[in-house]
Every structure is written in structure tokens, then in C-alpha cells.
């Protein structure tokens, strides 16, 4: 399929330009790359990032599980040091009751709740409790840090329309999609940047060429509503001249980066996204997704981000 020859070919944006085999899309909808690393090193920092990024239910499960495991571990230490080194335990000394006694003593030490109904008497138990109380406080320090990290890490929830469409635009047609801020804060000074990667399998292996796409508007001051991104299929487009109905058949990917200033965190946020050309729907246009209510408020309906209607393309 003919790609317009005189369009500037961008150098590799860093994702490689030739492969021996066919690859997956470069960037997924969640912004991650389809790259796996092997033989890397795993550090405390990676553990922190892992715990900061996983969903809440998993994070809480890991917390609970670690908490129980810690206490089981220390309970076994206390049993080793001798259950008779703890006060407040009379009655039946079965294995299970000894363990439970040691376990709850461990809990009371680890959390520093220390009721005192059980308290350490022997040197061994006292020493273990000394270490456990410190470990407990530090563990909750770490948990505090990770919890704060989970909340305070500047992240964005920029939503992209599921639909990538070709619509009439001026005298011609254009590729369009729509973005919206999924949070209630205001993003400012947004910039968008789209690179089209086109695969070519005619040679030995797979080669990819990269083109920067021209946009009707590539920055916007505020994003309180939604923003429709428009790449006109005109003479500046690398796929100018290709029949719109053939574009979804091309093997290509739009790699998108949006950046903006998040005034809640006082920091720059970035969002990566990608569409494959085969996701294109032809001959639709986006319906307005906000209205004005009786009081004069603009009402933005987040569910309508994907609402389109059919329309015929320009020739």
C-alpha cells in the first residue's frame, strides 16, 4: 500500500525498527510496552514500585498475609524459646493452645498493643519481644510509606475513547479520537504527540518506519471537558492518498503520548496510549458529550465518551 514518499520519516522513537519475527503492538491501552525483561536484578525499589502499583484488594491481601506470616514466625520463635517464659498462661498445654498463646502474644507485641495479660518473663522471650516490637513498628512505618506512596504518586486517569474513527473534516477526512480527564481535577497545558509506526514485512524479517502525525491542534490550555484529536488525511499525512476504507487493513499503530500539568500534585503527568489501525471505524462522528443544565452548568457525561453517529465521508 502506497505511503506518501515525501513525508518526513521520524527516527526510531526508541522501540526498535527491525525484528526477525512479527511482534505484538508496541504499546498497550494501559500505556505499558510489550517488552519483557530477563536476567534483570530485583531490588527493594522494585518491590516498592510493585506494591505501589498493584490494585487495592491485592495490596490489602498482601498486607494481611504478611501480618499473619510474621506473627506465625515469631510465635514459633517463642515456642522455641519456651512457652513457660510467658506469664498468664495456665491450663491445658496442648500443641495448638501453646501455639495460639504464643501467636496472640506475638500479635500484642508486634502491634505494640501489649495488654499485659501475657507478658515476657524469661530472658529468651524478652529478647525476642525486643526485636519483634521494633520490627513491628518499622513494618508499620514501611506500610505507612507505601500507603502514602499509593495515594500521593502523581498519576493521571486520562481516558481515551474506545473508538478511533475516520470522519469528514473540512473538505477531506480525518482520523479522530477523543480524550477526557477521568478525575475531577483540572489538567492544564496539555500536549499531545502521535507517532505512526507502519510495519513492512516484504523484506527479510519485519521492518517498521515511524512518522510523526500532523494534528489540527496539539496543545490545549485546560481539559475540563473532552478533547477531540484530529489528524487530517491531507497532503501532510504519511497515508495521504490511501483510500480511507483501506486504512484499517494497513499494519500500523498510533503511538500516543499526552502530557499535562496536574495542579493537585503540582507535577507534570504523562499518559501513553496506542491504537492499531485495524481499530478504526469508518464514517462515524463523535456526538457531543456535554450539555448545559437549567442553572447554566456544563454537564459532562463520562459515559458518552464513545458515543458516535454514522456520517458519510467526503470524497
Amino acid at each position: 500500500m502506497a505511503v506518501k514518499p515525501n513525508t518526513r520519516i521520524e527516527t526510531d522513537p526508541g522501540v526498535g525498527s527491525s525484528y526477525r519475527h512479527k511482534t505484538k503492538r508496541t504499546i498497550n491501552h494501559d500505556g505499558s510496552f510489550n517488552v519483557k525483561r530477563i536476567n534483570g536484578e530485583f531490588t527493594m525499589r522494585d518491590a516498592y514500585l510493585f506494591l505501589v502499583r498493584i490494585p487495592w484488594w491485592l495490596f490489602l491481601l498482601i498486607l494481611l498475609f504478611s501480618y499473619l506470616l510474621f506473627n506465625v514466625f515469631f510465635a514459633l520463635l517463642y515456642l522455641l524459646a519456651g512457652i513457660e517464659g510467658m506469664s498468664g498462661f495456665e491450663g491445658n498445654h496442648s500443641w495448638i493452645s501453646d501455639f495460639l498463646h504464643a501467636f496472640f502474644f506475638s500479635v500484642q507485641t508486634f502491634t505494640t498493643v501489649g495488654y499485659g495479660s501475657t507478658s515476657p518473663m524469661s530472658l529468651g522471650v524478652n529478647l525476642i519481644a525486643t526485636i519483634e516490637a521494633m520490627t513491628g513498628l518499622l513494618s508499620f512505618s514501611v506500610a505507612t510509606g507505601i500507603l502514602y506512596g499509593r495515594f500521593s504518586r502523581p498519576t493521571e486517569r486520562i481516558l481515551f475513547s474506545d473508538k478511533l474513527i475516520i470522519s469528514p473534516y473540512k473538505n477531506g477526512n480525518a482520523i479522530m479520537f477523543r480524550v477526557m480527564n477521568g478525575r475531577s481535577n483540572i489538567l492544564m497545558d496539555l500536549n499531545i504527540n502521535i507517532t505512526l509506526g507502519l510495519n513492512d514485512s516484504s523484506k527479510q524479517g519485519y521492518a517498521r518506519k515511524f512518522y510523526r502525525l500532523n494534528l489540527e491542534l496539539d496543545n490545549i490550555k485546560y481539559l475540563p471537558l473532552s478533547w477531540t484529536i484530529v489528524h487530517p488525511l491531507d497532503e501532510n499525512s504519511p497515508i495521504n492518498g490511501v483510500d480511507p476504507s483501506k486504512i484499517p487493513e494497513m499494519d500500523g499503530e498510533l503511538m500516543i503520548t499526552i502530557s499535562g500539568f496536574d495542579d493537585t500534585y503540582g507535577q507534570e503527568v504523562y499518559r501513553r496510549f496506542s491504537y492499531e489501525l485495524n481499530e478504526i471505524t469508518i464514517g462515524e462522528k463523535f456526538k457531543r458529550n456535554f450539555h448545559v443544565d437549567d442553572e447554566g452548568y456544563l454537564i459532562l457525561d463520562q459515559k458518552k465518551l464513545n458515543d458516535t453517529e454514522t456520517i458519510s465521508l467526503n470524497k
Copy 2:
């Protein structure tokens, strides 16, 4: 009313340019937009941002209420598990005294104060206390994070004069307002940017056009005092030629963004604000709001930000 035709019309800054009905002003004095979102998703992050942004009295009330609710919840669990599983409780077992006993035991566990006058005896109570002590510590971890977030989030308190005035300026006149830092730290490298949105209701529905306003000075190195922002009504103004006394009758809004570097937080801060043209007062000028005291200090009187005196305009 005639708007100067050859002034550059800025593209939509992201707030929409046509509506079916008349809308409220775009940006409020507190920088928020008159946009409401429906059908959005509410996440932990939104909860965090909510708790970070609400006023202190409300935040403390929510903390106190959650604390009591938590303890009531666990008190009920302990009652369910059997009050006889706690030591240290002799005497009249009325419903209310049982509940109070369980409630205070819960408090002692949740806060890890654990006096031990009451302590868990049964397996059930022990298990619940195990969970509660952990929950308690994590809750205070979360509270620590939110408290820190409330303090440390880089925010600004840039104050705008209530008054938007038209004053004589050089041989003509100018629209002016005044800003000041409401905090005692120093903002640096400030930039200001004003977009005038003019509504036009002559067509089907409401249309809005946007003009970037020329300023006498749009950046300043430091802001220890106040800063008077000046838009000269000269040939570069989109409303050049409009009689000053008619400007307040126009349906328009000045959308303002100030950014600067806050050396306390080491971060960029942003402030949005807006004036509607009908807020303009004609024929006033700002009075000096600082003086030099006997020791040579500049004394900035924050109350005088709005002080003006009348003056006749230039023709």
C-alpha cells in the same frame, strides 16, 4: 458591539465554543470550572483528594466520626463473639454496660494503648483483636499520609483584587487588576496569561470567541509586594474602539492563569481565576498598598489590595 476584526482569534482553550443554552461563567473565583461530571467512577484516589482538599474542621470531624464508627463496629463484633471472652469485666451485665465495655476494649485495641485492664481471653475475641490492632495501625498510617498530604501539597494563595478597573494608562486607558501572594514565602518567575472569552448569542444557540490579551508586562521575577496587571485598550486589544463605559455591558469573561515557582516546595504552582466584564469599575486607580517604615522595611498591607481612588479616564 464592535469587536476589532483584525485581532488574532485564539482557538478554543478547551472549554467549548458553542452551547445550546446560556452558560454560567467558565471559571469561578476559586479557580474551579462550572462543569459537573456524571457517570464517572469514584476511586480511592478521589477519596484521598477529597480528604486532602476539604477544610480542616470538616476533615477533623470526619476523622473523629470514622474513629467512633470503627470502634462501634468492632464493639458489636466483640459482643457477637461473646463478652465473656474478655477479662476484667465483673458486675452488672446490662446491654449498655456490655456494649461500653466492648467499646472501650475496642478503643484500647484500635489505638494499641492496651492497658490490659481488659484483655482478650477467648479465641474469638483474640482473633478479632488481632485484626483490629492491625486495622488500627493501618488506619493511623492512612491518616498520617492524608495529614501530610494536606500540609505538603504545593498550593498557592495568590490573591486577586476584588476590583477589576479601567484606569488611564499612558495616552489611553487600560483594564487593570492587582494580585498579591497571600503567603509569606516568595514566588519567583511568575507568568500571567489572560484569555478573553466573548459570547455571541445572535446565532442559533450561544457561540464564544477567544482572544489572547496583550499585557504591559506578563512576567515578573519576584512577587514580594503586589503586581498590577495592565491590559492597554490600544490597537492590539480585541475590544479596542469600544467605549470604556460600554465594556461592562459586554457578555465576556477574562480567564486568567498565573504560574510561578514556589521555593518552599520546590515546585511550580498554578492559579486560575476569572473576572466577568460586568465586574469592571470605570475610572478608578489602585492606591499604593505598601509603605516604608522608619527602619526602612517595606510594609505590605494585605487589606489594601482593593484600595482604589477615582480618576477620570483619558479620551
Copy 3:
């Protein structure tokens, strides 16, 4: 004294340009402005910033004092609720022993240490303890936040030489001073910017004009050693033609801003400083303040930042 007329006059950097009375220098050596604010509002945020900026000894004193005050306050509440509502207190009920008993019970509750030798029995004492334990934990949360803020706030310790000198430079002379990083981390991409404010008292009141000074080098990639800043007194200087020996007699101030990237905090840091022209020493040059040791290390002697030797100026 003649100031070269064709030098670009910089617009007001934001510090005012006319005063009724003589003012102090604009910027102090610690970077603060000689501006006092009156009629301002004091918020929690200002309290936070106050506690983050004060010296350590004062901060710890305030912590200790607040801690004692809190416990005295709660001790009085417990006394009000009735000392007999606490267990573990037998013996002489003098006023002082009652107070001490209540005070130490308060400490044990506030810190959640809760030995249990004293524990709450009555409803009143239980309720107060419920509030105190929560208050205690939150207070330590706040203290944690402030402590972390004190450590983690990106600050710099860029040191300026006490001496501002006029030295020979190329065929002429130059105003020079020297800066150094007082911390062991590396600052990168430093920029410096100097504005000369010259006062003129010949008119009604005091007027000030501002000139941006040309520098031999106004940015530097790294600052592992020291950096000598050089303003050549050539035809681009606003005080070109003034006899060097007369410069210290001029009423002027060099307002200096240095910015750089601190790789420890991953943030931009700023430093303000100023010299008054009467601080100038004429006919000195800076001595090298580092040497190479036997192993090939560069040894930077922080004490030698101010070391100069006399030298005669060029004509």
C-alpha cells in the same frame, strides 16, 4: 555618578521602583526580602511552614513543650472527671499526687504505651481516654509529617563568598564573587542571573532603576568545586566608565538568583542572595580553594571560599 545611558533598563523585577523614604536593601544574605506583611491571614499551612523552617533546637523545644502541655491539659480533664475513676492509685490523695497520677496516666494514654498499672474505670475517664489516645496518635502523625517535611523539603546550601571584589579581568576589570555548594551532593545545570538596582534620591522620594548584568558565564553544567561569577566592567556594563574606586560609593544592590537541579531530590532549587555595592573590596583576586592530593583527588577546602590576595587593577 554617570550611568551608561545606552544600556537596556530592565523593567521592575517586582520589588517596586519608587518609595517615599529610604529603604533597606531589598534582599538579605539569607535570601529573604525586607518586606513585612500586615493584616494577613494565618493558616494551618503557615504553621506547617513555620515548623518546617525553624532551627532544630527550637523545633524540638516546641515539640517537648506541646507534649507536656497536652498532658497537663488531659490530666486536668481526668481530675475533673474524678481521679477515683482510675484504678491503681492507692495512698495519699494530696492535690499534687492526684495531679501526677493523672498526668502519668495521660502520658501512658497519649503515647499509647498503656502499661495498665493505671487504667480507666469510670465512664468519664474512659471517654476522655478514648479521645486522648486518638489525639495522641494523630499528634504523632502530624509530628511525623513535619519531621519528614523538614528532611525532605528540597533546599540548597549554596554558599556565597563574603567578599565581593573588583579584580583585573582581561584588559579591564570585573566585579567578582564566588559560590560553592555547601552540601556534598552535586548540583547540575546551574543558571545565575544578576540584576543591579541603582537608587536615585535626587527626585521627590527615592527612585530605583534596574539593569541586568552581563556575565562572563551565566550557566555551568556541574558545581563540584566553586564557581567564580564575573561581571566585566566593559562597554556592556551599566556602570562602565565609573572609576572602580568610586563604585563602592554608589547606592546600589546586586540582586542574585541561582537555580540548579538537585539530583538528590530530583527537583529544581533556587537561591536568592544580594550584595550591596558598598560591600565591594577593590584590587583583590580569589585564591584557588582546591588542590590535588597524592592520590589524585581534588580537595575542596570550604573554609577557603573567601581567600583572596591583593592585586593591582588594570587601568
Copy 4:
């Protein structure tokens, strides 16, 4: 050895340009400078930075040691105040058993675990415990802050190939090395900047000249894989014309800075590195260090960063 004369000589990047003796390389592989400071001041901030930067094992050892030391210190205070002021201690009063009793009481107070098996009775012990409980909580606050600082400080792990090679490039040859992100997050908008420092010992002492090196590509949008940095030895190179085999014999150092945006921390990260010219291997090229697996994933093998094969240079 002839250095091409018409290449722009960069001004000193801030590391000095003349020395009395031969110096070590300027920048080490870990990005630190071979500069030692003497007569500097050591502040709390430096202590914080020290604790944030040391390896985990050392940090945990220091924590444990401080914890024990603190408790030994308070144990001695309690002994001084009189062991009889603590309840719960009957039996043999040897020196060692008294100390252990006081030590474990201190632990229970410091960590606020407060079992109550031992509790303060005398005024002296109560007062010391009042201070210790507060100190304990604040110490854990500080530990929380430092732990959080260790995790959350935006750092990078950009890896550089051990090998610096000269490879054929187009019709000539080029100096090349390879970088990779050692973490699983994605770095964006990377910039690289290389300064060549060439030493000249022919004069009195040692002089150094600095040249900015031209690169085939000095920025890249994403870094999911690795990036080969290429300095062509063409007419724009300061060492153009030098026989490649002689380059390793020159006394020079490549000082490298990479910056990029880390989307996990929402901040800019910087990495310094250097190669000495004598680290060059001649006539090798980098082997591809990733492949495509059956599912289409790109597999990046971090161990292959240094893999090269021999190749003959262009003339």
C-alpha cells in the same frame, strides 16, 4: 596528538581546567565526582541524605544498633533513678538482672508496647518514662520518614555497557556505547550530552580542554529497550583525523549526562557517567540484545548489554 583545531571548545563545565598535579578521572562510574570536601559543616540534612543513600543492610544495622543503644542509655537512667521505682520485679537483685529488668522495661516504653508486667511507680521512673515514650514515638517517626525517603526518592538505574567501542559507522567509524533502563518502568524524553575532556601535560602543570561531542541522535522518546549512543569520528569530531588505534592512548575522559522523565515518580531523573578513552575497545560492534518470542513479545536480555562481536573498521 593532533586535535582538530576548528572544533568549538566548550567552556569549562565546572570541573576546573588546570591543576598542579595529575588528577583522577573527574566522574566515576557511579556518577560521583572525585572531589573531597574539607572543613565543611555537617547538618541534620546531611545525616538524612547519608541514611537515605546507604545500602539497606547498613541502614538496618544502624537502626538496630541505635535501638539497642537508646535502650541501654535509658536502662542506665532507670538504674540511676532506682530500680525499686518499678513494679513487677521480685527476686535476686544482681547487677546484671537489675540491668536486664531496666532494659526490657525501657524497650516496652520506647516501643510503647507497655505490657504492664513492669510499670513505673516512683516519680523519677515516671518522668524518665514520660520522656522515653515521646522519644520513642518520634524516633519511629524519623525512621518512617527515612524509610519513605529511601523508597520514594526519584532515582534511576540507567545501566551503561562496560564496553566503549569503536565500530564502523556509515563510511567511517564511530565511538559507541549502549545504555539501558535497569528498572521495569519506562523512561521518556531522554536527552544525552557528552563532553570530552582532553588533558594536556606539556605545560606547567596539567591543563584540560573540553569539547562537546556530536551524536548521531541525542534524544529519544522512550527507552523500553536499549539505546546505542554513537559519536561519529567525522569532521565534526574534535578527534577527527586521529588514527582510531591511537585514541585509547590519549589522556581523555567522556563525561556523560543523561536526563529523562520518570513516569513513576513524575519527575526528571539525571544520570552522570564517564568513560576514559583508555577503556575503548577497537573493532567491535554490539550484538542485538533482544529478540521476539513466540507470542510476539520483545524479550530484552539485561545480561546481553555488553555483548559484542569483532568487526573490522572502515578506513
